[in-house]
């Protein structure tokens, strides 16, 4: 048992760390109604890696990471900056279009790179069981930096997320764009960092499920934040424990646990005071 605990300690630490940062971002994502943004970002990052490979950078080198980040940041900045123009297509639709065009280009490029289709499926699976302590440590440092930025801008970010579609904000367009840029770039960095480790579905569920569960019952930011952390932490730890005792893969186990919890809560909410 102790050996197992030791073996599982790094994945558990990673899960708790990821749940911490992703559940926080989830509240913003849900309030803005851009649910699938992380899947689009992950796809763009994978495309960036493939473009880097085509440009001749070595696999898993520093320069290819830079290429991937750079490409992602360009796309996400464009997304952030076009937001405050009057739109006839909703943001979620633009996210969908970015995702499927990104994937289509990746599929075309995959033909040109040996083993190219690996880069497409790699983003889907991920495996948190093999995370190392050094990776966890790097993530911790990175997330602390991002948390500091978000702590500093917390009031502005909450306001912008609450009024995502309205133009009732007291900020000038320039400042608004600056805040948006900071928000989306930090979010992009988190997604690009977490998806290769945990896989797209675990990241997605840690992002969306805890905040959805609590947002069914309240729209107070403080309560949502605290409860989504509690739900995210408990879900990860219990999920890993269940996956260990039933011998199933842990990512999918956490996904099912948190996801089913949301649906149960939604039906409780429906039946309440019916």
């Amino acid at each position: 048992m102790l050996d197992n605990l030791l073996f599982l300690s790094a994945p558990i630490a990673a899960c708790i760390l990821f749940a911490g940062i992703l559940s926080y971002f989830g509240n913003h994502i849900l309030s803005r109604g851009i649910i699938f943004i992380d899947i689009a970002i992950a796809q763009i990052a994978a495309l960036g890696t493939m473009i880097g490979l085509l440009l001749g950078f070595a696999e898993e080198s520093f320069s290819i990471d830079i290429a991937s980040y750079l490409f992602t940041l360009i796309v996400i900045s464009a997304f952030a900056l076009t937001k405050f123009k009057k739109q006839r297509i909703s943001q979620e639709a633009i996210i969908g279009i970015i995702y499927c065009i990104g994937l289509a280009v990746a599929l075309l490029l995959a033909e040109k790179i040996p083993g190219g289709s690996n880069y497409i499926s790699k983003t889907i699976t991920g495996n948190i069981l093999w995370v190392s302590w050094t990776q966890v440590f790097y993530c911790l440092l990175l997330f602390l930096g991002i948390a500091a930025i978000h702590l500093y801008f917390r009031k502005q970010f909450v306001k912008i997320s609450d009024y995502a579609s309205k133009e009732e904000l007291a900020y000038s367009l320039k400042r608004l764009r600056l805040y948006e840029l900071v928000f989306y770039i930090t979010f992009g960095v988190v997604i690009v960092k977490t998806v290769p480790i945990a896989g797209i579905f675990l990241v997605f569920i840690l992002l969306v499920a805890p905040t959805t569960a609590i947002s069914l019952f309240t729209n107070n930011w403080k309560k949502r934040l605290i409860w989504s952390w509690i739900i995210g932490f408990l879900g990860s730890v219990i999920g890993i424990y269940l996956s260990y005792s039933f011998n199933i893969s842990n990512g999918p186990c956490i996904v099912c646990l948190l996801g089913i919890l949301v649906f149960v809560l939604a039906f409780i909410k429906l039946l309440k005071k019916a």
Partner: protein, 281 residues
Amino acid sequence: MEILEFMLIPFIACLLLIGSNVYFGIHVLKREIIFIDIALAQIAALGGAIAMVIQQTMEGSNAHEHSEDSFFSYAFSLLFCTIAAILFSLLKNKKIKIPLEALIGIAYAVATAAAVIILDKGAGGDVHIHDMLIGSILWVGWDQVLKLAITVGIIGLFHVIFRKRFFALSDYYLTNDIKYKNKSLWDFLFYFSFGILIVQAVQVGGILTVFAFLIIPASISSLLASRWYSRILIGLGIGGIITFLGLYFSWELDVPCSPVIILFLGIVLLISLVITRLKRN
């Protein structure tokens, strides 16, 4: 004339896919439930996976043949689609204040994770993912196209007869003030018919192609028009032309056709964005 022989079936298949998806795409955009088709496709796939496991345990381990087309797994896919349709129409309720898209996303993630647990990462998973994404529209046979055509025909007829109800439902979906009674029932019928179509469409075109056909032509048409009929016509026209060009170029350049069609659709979307911007100035 080799190209005609080779490309005729894929072209008809693409036209059927575009035709039905443009219509549903406008609904989906209005409701802001962009990823519903991926979720429905994945939920149906989960049904198919469960059917496969049940069959294998009943028949013993010697039943290794691919029974994807079997009636049993199709019935299970439909059953799961029905459950999903009931879920989504019930959860669209004034009491639930969060966007339905969040619940759709969670359903998608759970369906995928459950399929992974059930199939326990079977061998050749990567290839399967690749096929599931882009399908193999070049290799569809007449029987598949016929099945798709019948499905599109029946569902199309149903939606033509009750078009006013479905239009009204989606037009007032986000504001929640619909005059019709039995709103949930019609909502259920919408998701259910859409689910049946998606199950057939994904088998022919793959998830990515179907998704692109669903939202890109509908987005283009929303830039250029706002009435239902003109939007459907614009979507159909652009979709048809792009499919033709895409298939032709993929033949000439010897690249997979679905990504090429999607890229072309993306380019047309960009052009229409520029046009609308210029018009406004």
